[in-house]
């Protein structure tokens, strides 16, 4: 009886092994194709940018979407031309300090930089969705090239940083890349399409945008403290790598700024952190009140970026002594 069972089960087991084996080969081929597409259509993803960039840099820019217009419409090249400095913008949509630190740590495995410009936004220091949540964003992970070293870094973020283990599983298995509906499309952020547009003021759009950026959180204070600690870590990593850190707040339309909850508290905490860490902090949030400088409720358009760069940022990036911190 046992012999009969063995005769029947062995071909079934062999057959199953073949089925799984062939399936794994197909999976590997599809994954390789997806990875190739990540590079072919890559553009805005911070990890991709760090991968394809060559050499060392004078400046790396980190932050959320408010820093992204500095790289729209080839403006980064323009900044490099006018300052004579090599600049790499690793800002990402909705990326708080946790993801910024992740991107910067990855950057340092391949390059060096003399300076780091961190663009700080109040919303990014408040909600997990802009920090731990970014790692489970399939759209972001689908555009993130695979590296064993990055998987190792992600393990550390899962174990120490509270990132969902599913993000690691997704990254290692490449599921988001295989399942990416925009696999054949260029990795551009939707905001870039309106870079040359001037925003028509809309109180309801501003309200909705603020609601989106500031979702309800369980413990706002604890979250904020945690993400300031992450920023302090980021500054520590920079210092250990001889990188000078400058924190800036980007210009915002006055009415939009007035809607931001807890902005004064955030500013005070940022000043305190900058003081403790001995880094420069410049608040330009009131510097450009004209709505004509904005492409939407809160992002600079081309005109705004040119004005901002020419009058504010260029001296910093060029190495001119900083104005008095606020």
């Amino acid at each position: 009886m046992e012999q009969v069972t063995a005769v029947r089960t062995t071909p079934r087991a062999v057959s199953a092994a073949w089925f799984i084996g062939i399936g794994l080969v197909i999976y590997a081929l599809l994954l390789a194709g997806s990875e190739w597409l990540v590079y072919r259509n890559g553009r805005m993803n911070p990890v991709y940018k760090a991968d394809v960039a060559a050499g060392d840099f004078d400046w790396v820019i980190l932050g959320a979407s408010h820093a992204m217009p500095l790289d729209f419409g080839n403006f980064n090249k323009e900044m490099q031309r006018r300052t004579g400095k090599k600049i790499l913008n690793l800002a990402g949509s909705g990326t708080g300090p946790l993801y910024a630190r992740f991107a910067f740590e990855h950057f340092l495995t391949r390059h060096r930089t003399r300076n780091l410009l961190y663009v700080a936004d109040g919303f990014a220091f408040r909600a997990p969705v802009w920090n731990e949540g970014r790692f489970t964003d399939a759209d972001l992970m689908a555009r993130t090239p695979f590296h064993v070293s990055l998987a190792g870094l992600l393990v550390r973020y899962v174990v120490m940083g509270g990132v969902d283990p599913r993000a690691l599983a997704d990254y290692v298995a490449g599921f988001s890349k295989l399942n990416n509906r925009g696999r054949f499309q260029l990795d551009v952020w939707e905001g870039e399409a309106s870079f040359d547009r001037a925003f028509k003021l809309s109180p309801s759009a501003e309200r909705k945008r603020v609601e989106y950026l500031y979702p309800p959180v369980a413990d706002e204070r604890a979250g904020s403290e945690r993400y300031f600690d992450v920023l302090a870590d980021l500054i520590g990593i920079a210092e250990r790598n001889d990188v000078t850190v400058t924190i800036v707040k980007m210009p915002l339309p006055p009415r939009f700024k007035s809607l931001l909850p807890g902005e004064a508290t955030f500013d005070a905490a940022l000043v305190s952190l900058a003081g403790r860490q001995g880094v420069s902090l410049i608040d330009w949030s009131d510097a450009m009140p004209d709505p004509g400088f904005y492409a939407d409720t809160d992002h600079l358009n081309r005109k705004g970026v040119m004005e901002f760069f020419g009058k504010r940022l260029q001296p910093i990036l060029s190495g001119t002594p900083l104005p008095t911190p606020f």
Binding site: R12, F19, I22, G23, I26, Y27, L30, A138, R166, A169, F175, L178, N179, R181
Partner: protein, 483 residues
Amino acid sequence: MLFTSLSFFLFLAATLIVFAWLPRRARWFWLLLASLAFYASFGLSNIVFLFAVTFVAWAAGRLVACERPAIRKPALIAGLVLILGTLFVLKFYDFVAAEIEPLLGSVNALPRLGITAPVGFSFYAFMAGAYLIDVYRGTCAAEHDAGRLALYVSWFPKILAGPIERAGPFLQQVPTRLRLDPVLAAAGLQLVLWGLFKKVVIADNLAPVVDGAFRIAAYASPMELLIAVYFFAFQIYCDFSGYSDIAVGLSLLFGIRLMENFRRPYLALTTAEFWSSRWHISLGHWFRDYLYVPLGGSRTGTLRRYANVMAVFIVSGLWHAGLGYGVGWTFLIWGALNGFYQWTGLATRGAWRWLGERLPRLAASAWLRVLRILVTFHLILVSWVFFRADTVTQASTVIRRIGSALPGLPALAPRYPFTVDHAAGAALIALLLTVEILDERRPMRERLAAAPVALRWSAWYAAIFGLLLFGRWRSDAFIYMQF
């Protein structure tokens, strides 16, 4: 923890491993624990409802099973009122209060419950109700073990959206047939795979087109609305039958056989066939056995029979009213419209029979068969508009706009800016229909089993990698689990 989530796959793997490791007599208890954990993942408070329904069914079932007529019937009525009454109140009280409050004037504000039926309640309430009636009729023995009855009510593959399995066949399997059988497991995995494909590849890729058009029904072009209505017919089918296939397939992994819930419904020749033996079969049988037959069924006078049919469809409409597309009058109209189709079918049945006898070659022709399938499909299609629309006004807007533009559509269609989503949706529907037509002639499982291994494996790889490449895995619900 939806069937389409990573956490569910991990849960399933853990449940299967422990199930296989446990001695057979302990397995049912493990499955009960797993089912409770699964249901609790949708909210701990849901468990209270589940326990309450199970307890009422168990206690009332014991009383119904006793010999004394003075106890049996009152116990049955009390059990049904408690279970189905709770379902009715949770579903409709707030809606009814809001509807009649204006009639009472502002001073007579009615209190609101503010709670809705927990996920899957409609399904397990109907299962518990069926159990009580079966015990009363003597077609099912009363279950003495409350735990086993709880497993019947809470069995995780079916708790959210059925099939509305009968207690008798289910409970007979519980003590003896719980095993990991490779043949059953292979069949189960195939069903799970096909169910997932229908849900995440077909239904969820059609959904954005449907949702987009219905969201702006008053402004969308008639062509856009027409596409949305067609797509919705296949979205709802693939969403729901996908769930059922997964439920039946998962059960097979544990050696449990559930009833078939869908049988290629859009190939039905009549709306009567659609509802009685092809679409949501378990619910159709429930209404037949526990509502239509007790009302007198077909053995009464003509008028009474017509009234019974309409009653069944209106109650079915009410049952479908729920969170999915809101509680509203649309579901009542949807039920009534389908009842009206049955009336028409009943009224013309004699004439069709007479015609079939006079023209046997025409009656047997494939062309007539195709025509009947198309007519039936389009009748159901019209009723789906009421099912999907948020309000009666929206439904009538959709029908009016499509209707008024119909004569010009052939000219408009070539100039319509079809998108990739439209093309992909049409291709997926064509694929589904091809599989269903082949399956109708000879079950796909048999075809694949008889096919060369290269072809068979290619089909499975296509399904698996179709899921990985084209599936939309971010959906947060199956439509029917919200009813």
